[in-house]
Symmetry: C2
Subunit: 169 residues, 2 copies
């Protein structure tokens, strides 16, 4: 899987789709498959940068989300909503971050259903160091051209909005 293929496998699949008579669906299929592959490439790269910190991207995202709150804490349901992952994914991430001493769970003062997840000092420090590494090694030179970055942001925001991710206003 390290060796470049002689041809773009997704362009090939697109041609196959056209050959089978699915012309209207060929380009959308290719775009979606390209998104899947691009995500995979980026994930491998990001996980590679985070590995020395004993972090995965999922756990990193939760730490960073907490680091951006005023008090370094959030209800788990809120974290699930903002990170746009299933509540069980947050449970999983909090379990592992808590075992590593990077967050704590705390009861909500007024609502016994709610668990607050709170950043520890170690967690805040690691979030900062991991962000420095990602900024330096991924976000400074992503492999996208600058114009493409802006275009992607626009296109994917329109898509996410029509998918119901956030309100139009």
């Amino acid at each position: 899987m390290d060796q470049p293929l002689p041809r773009d496998p997704i362009a090939e699949a697109q041609r196959n789709w056209v050959r089978r008579g699915w012309e209207a669906q060929a380009a959308p299929m290719a775009a979606i498959t390209a998104i899947m592959r691009t995500q995979q490439l980026l994930m491998l790269r990001i996980e590679g940068v985070l590995k020395p910190f004993a972090l995965t991207f999922s756990r990193y995202e939760l730490l960073t989300l907490l680091a951006f709150t005023r008090r370094g804490e959030l209800p788990m349901s809120r974290a699930s909503s903002l990170l746009q992952v299933h509540p069980t994914s947050v449970t999983n991430a909090v379990d592992r971050l808590q075992a590593a001493g990077l967050v704590d769970r705390a009861p909500h003062p007024l609502d016994r259903r709610t668990t607050l997840v709170r950043l520890t000092t170690d967690g805040r420090d690691l979030a900062r160091r991991a962000t420095d590494a990602l900024n330096r090694e991924v976000f400074t030179d992503t492999g996208f051209e600058a114009d493409d970055v802006d275009a992607l942001i626009g296109i994917l925001a329109r898509f996410r909005q029509q998918a119901g991710d956030f309100d139009p206003a």
Copy 2:
């Protein structure tokens, strides 16, 4: 997680990045995070369409790849290369498809290291029906605008090429 958020969480994260002084990295970070979320949305949608066929996207892709070959078979290493997944992911997919009677494993006539994975009649039929469903329910109306589909294809092809996925020629 079903309710739209009042604001775009990724745009919010981008503003947070700028506030922290990481201006050059903010847009690339947002583009990458948007790719992650878009992939997740598309995957949920695709898995939803495939579920009645007792297929996952990963298994579907292998079936479709085989359906496009002349003889309905490929060496597993070739499948790994074309699908751009780790060999263990192909082993996993073949195990499950084989258990479901959708593919068979066969020895290579000339190379005892190599295992061929071969589509069965049931597998070919299921690949066709699942493709019909995906064409109808996902690829005909993806949620992307038509211009955006073409732009995505171009942008992501450039990215995948610079990442070493395929040769420039």
